[in-house]
């Protein structure tokens, strides 16, 4: 059990647990940096608890469902370890990785911004641990509990391949077909896109309740444009597939042949979120005109092109787990540029 936990933990956190230490240091810098600024917000403890559970559970869920786990752990899984020990070590190590490298930095930001008691912080930490256990429990109950732990990982591959079989070839729009299949194979990416639409719908509500504190309510709209384009799973198509990256760069003409449809695909996937944002804004706050629509289309287009270019020219290739890839800080570059562009265009035309 000790050996198992150690091997999983080293795989996730580095041989000397350096990734955990790095993350703790970053969190400390965030905490002391933000609290030193003296800026405070009224954040209810419930928000901190909710964040602890929901965020940690969703990252944990993503890690449990990632295909890389199957590949990386097949040697451990094929050995005759006791099922309960294997599950406990894997969930424990992955949980520590999730809390240390993903939850802690963001939670330290929230704690620095709010005014929390020690008991509330401890409860939030417990909520994060609860999030880990919740995801692991749902994952096991959802069809894996009756099987030996080893097959938990192998099941992922089987599930991913179940829907395929023989398909008809199409001569035209090949890359579109490819991208559509990519989305359909990863149903959680589809859910993520719908989730973004949900956020886009809720965002104007937040603006209508909090906007009066801000000098310019349109700022919320611009922030919405930035947030609605954080569709990470679709924006790491090449990063998550090293072989695809190699093939695209080794064959002639592949760049443009793949880049243009990929940018188009990203544009099409951003449009629903932007449409949700504008529609919701129009009904809750009002004032959406043709200028806003043109602005949204232009921003969606630019954001899609920037994301595709980022993937083609600067793919993230040094990730260890799929969760690292999904939470790489690079994902905020395009939204930040989109936000700045929105502010710039907004001040010029609105």
């Amino acid at each position: 059990m000790k050996m198992l936990t150690s091997s999983f933990a080293k795989e996730f956190l580095g041989v000397r647990y350096e990734r955990a230490l790095k993350s703790i240091m970053i969190s400390a810098v965030i905490f002391f940096g933000v609290s030193g600024c003296g800026y405070r917000l009224d954040i209810a403890p419930f928000i901190l608890y909710l964040f602890g559970v929901v965020f940690t559970a969703s990252v944990m869920w993503q890690s449990l469902n990632s295909k890389d786990a199957e590949e990386r752990f097949k040697n451990i899984v094929m050995m005759p370890f006791e099922s309960s020990a294997l599950i406990a070590s894997y969930v424990g190590s992955l949980g520590v990785h999730t809390i240390c490298t993903k939850t802690l930095p963001l939670m330290s930001l929230l704690i620095a911004l709010g005014k929390f008691e020690v008991t509330e912080i401890v409860t939030a930490a417990a909520a994060a641990v609860g999030g880990v256990l919740l995801s692991a429990a749902i994952y096991l109950i959802k069809g894996h509990a009756s099987k030996p732990a080893g097959y938990v990982f192998y099941d992922l591959a089987v599930l991913a391949g179940k829907s395929s079989g023989v398909v008809k070839s199409r001569r035209h729009g090949l890359v579109w077909t490819y991208l559509f299949r990519y989305l359909m194979t990863h149903k959680n990416y589809l859910v993520n896109s719908l989730f973004l639409c949900g956020i886009a719908i809720l965002f104007p509500y937040m603006a209508s309740t909090m906007g009066e504190e801000l000098p310019d309510k349109n700022m919320f709209l611009y922030m919405g444009f930035g947030i609605a384009c954080v569709n990470t799973p679709l924006c790491v198509l090449i990063s998550c597939d090293h072989d695809l990256d190699r093939s695209l760069h080794s064959m002639p003409g592949c760049g443009l042949k793949f880049f243009v449809p990929y940018a188009g695909f990203l544009f099409m996937s951003l449009c629903p979120a932007y449409a949700c944002l504008l529609t919701s804004w129009h009904f809750l706050i009002g004032g959406i005109g043709i200028v806003h629509i043109i602005m949204a289309v232009c921003l969606a287009f630019l954001s899609a092109v920037m994301s595709a270019a980022m993937e083609y020219f600067f793919p993230i290739l040094n990730w260890k787990t799929e969760s690292d890839l999904m939470h790489n800080p690079r994902k905020y570059i395009v939204p930040a540029i989109t936000l700045l562009l929105a502010c710039f265009i907004g001040t010029l035309v609105i």
Binding site: S169, D241, D243, L244, G253
Partner: protein, 233 residues
Amino acid sequence: MKLLEIKGLSAWYNADKKILKGFDLELNENEAVGLIGLNGAGKTTFIKVLTGLIKGYEVSEKSFRGSDLKFRDNAFKNSRYAVFAEDDSFKYFTFREYLTYVCGAYKKKAQGVEELIEGFHFGEFENTLLKDLSTGNRKKAFLITGFALRPELLILDEPVNGLDFESTEFLYSCIAGYKKYGTVLFSSHILESITLTSDRVVVLENGVISKKFEGEEIKAEAIREALRYEDVN
């Protein structure tokens, strides 16, 4: 006539550890050249340099058809196709879709596809997504594409790995017969694949070519001896 000439090639992943150290190679038109060496000798690294996938390299001379060679230039890319030892790319394409896509990229028409499909016993898989194929069948998909594309330079990295007995035999005949269309450069650990198909064999040792065999000299025993000598060193 010379197709490709490389002199003094050094390549690295980390600047402090060179994998290729002054590597020289000449390829002639319409020949099959086998690249053999122990694990870590630099075979795959050389193929990666040729396919423009490694940034860390320096070379004193390089030319393709007598003109200056740039590994990442589309002109050179159009002249070569590489089948990698392990390839999981384009997994949401079927073989037919992949072939169409590659032909579009190379602006070429695939030739002899049906014969290749039959020879590799691939018929029942041509409309299956690549991600659902076994390792061997996925290798066949890329091999068929390479041979059907008929580039001037076909690069095969460990082409035998994962293939069944019949397909291996067919692959040998494809390599031997490819000289009609262009040059094949392939790396392999399997001596038989080298001795049965190559016009020339180069033995790679610690990043440099330590021995060359040509024509009648290509005998399994001689190459085995060269590799054994390499192992002792």
